[in-house]
Symmetry: C2
Amino acid sequence: MIIVKFGGSVITDKKVYKKIRTRVLKRLIYELTDENIILVHGAGSFGHILSSDKKLNSGLNDSNMIDFSTVARDVQKLNTIIVSMLIERKLPAISMPIHSFHMVGENFPYTKFHEYLIRGFVPVTYGDVVLERKKGMVICSGDQIIFNLAKYLKPERVIFVTDVDGIYDKNPKIHKDAVLMKIVHANDSITFDNDVKDVTGGMELKFKVMGLLASSGIDVMIVNGLVKDRLKLALQNKDVIGTRVVP
Amino acid sequence: MIIVKFGGSVITDKKVYKKIRTRVLKRLIYELTDENIILVHGAGSFGHILSSDKKLNSGLNDSNMIDFSTVARDVQKLNTIIVSMLIERKLPAISMPIHSFHMVGENFPYTKFHEYLIRGFVPVTYGDVVLERKKGMVICSGDQIIFNLAKYLKPERVIFVTDVDGIYDKNPKIHKDAVLMKIVHANDSITFDNDVKDVTGGMELKFKVMGLLASSGIDVMIVNGLVKDRLKLALQNKDVIGTRVVP
C-alpha cells in the first residue's frame, strides 16, 4: 500500500481563497496508476487563509465556532471535488474526514481505512479541523494524518507531491543558488524559510514527519506535482527528479 | 437535546435524480430555533435512485464499487449544501458522514457527536452507504442512524419532518378517506403502502424506529415539513398538526 499526499500548495493557489488548480489536479489524478493507495490532500487555500485570518490554531471560543464550521465545510467542498475527479477516472474513492472520527490525543482510528483498503476502495482524507481536549478544536495537517496512518497501516511507501522539485539546501523560492538534494537523511540539519504563511508548519514540519517515516522503514519520496509524470514515475518506482528521505 | 430528522422526501424531489427542494429546505433550516440539536437528513433522490437502479442493497461486488463511491459522493454533496445553509443561518454545523467511522454490527461510535454537542456545535449526519462484514457495504437510513444515536445519547425528543401531516390509518397519497391520527401507540397495527420505491424501508421502518424510541421514554413526533411553521411549533413544544408516537 502506498500513501500519496497532494500538497495544498500544488492543488490550490495558496494565496487566493478557495482557488483550485484544476488542470494540475486532474493531471495528478490521471497519474495515479496504482490503485492500492490512500490519498491524503492538503487544504491549501480552502483552509489556510481563513484559519490564519481567524487565528483558529489558538483554539475554540464562542466567537469563532462558526469559523471552524466554515473551514470544515470549505475543505469538505475541496474534498468532494477531488473525490468526484477520482470517480470520473473510475477509482472507487471514499471520503474520510478526520473531524468526524478523530480527537487529538486519542489513538488514531485507522481500522475503517483498513476496511476500505481490503475492499479495494481508495480512502481519501485531508487536512482538517479536529476535536481536541484542551483547546476545543485545532487544525490538523495532512502530514500529521499521514504520520498517524503510517504508524498503524505500515505503507511500503509515502510519496509527497509538492510544488517544488524536492528538498533544497536553501528555500529555492527565495535563493536562486539553492541546490536540490537527491537524498537527505532524517537527521540532516536543513534551514527552511517559508514564503507563504502556513498554519500547519510548512516544509519544516513536513521534513520532520518524513524523517520519522523513513526511520520506521518506509520509503519516503518528495516530487514536484507541477511537472508532468513526476508522480507517475515515482509511483512506478522509476528514476525521477525528487528527493528521497532515508534514515 | 433534540434530534431533528429531515426526511429525504421533504428536502428533495424523490423522483428526480439529485433535485433539492431548495425553498423548503431553507425554510426548514430557518425554523430550527433550538440550537441544542443533532440534525439527521435523508438522502432522498441523491441516494435512493442510483442505489435502487444498481441494487446496492444486495451488497458489494467488483462491478458496483464505483456506484457505492458515487452514492457516497452524491449524498456528501447534498450534505455540504445543508451544512452551508446552516452556517449561513449562523448555526455552527459540522458534517458527520457515518461511512467514515461506522461499521454495521459494531457499536455505533457516538462519542464524537457528544464532543461536538458539548462544544455547542450542531452535528449533521445522514443516510449513507456504510461498511458491513458480510455484504461488504450496505445502505443505512437516517432513521436507523437516529435509532443508534438515541440509544447512546438519550435525546429528550425526536422530531421527524416528512412530506405528510403525520401517520394516517391508510396511505394518504393513495386513499382520499385516510384519517390523520394525533396519537399512535408503538404497538398499533397500521398498514403502510409506499408509493415511491424506497431502498431503506419507507414509512413502515420509520414507524418501527419511532415505536422503539417512544418505548424507551423519548418524546417522538412526526410533522409535515412542507407546511410552514409545523417544525417550529413542534420544536417549541406547542400545539401543532402531526402525530405523536407513544408507548
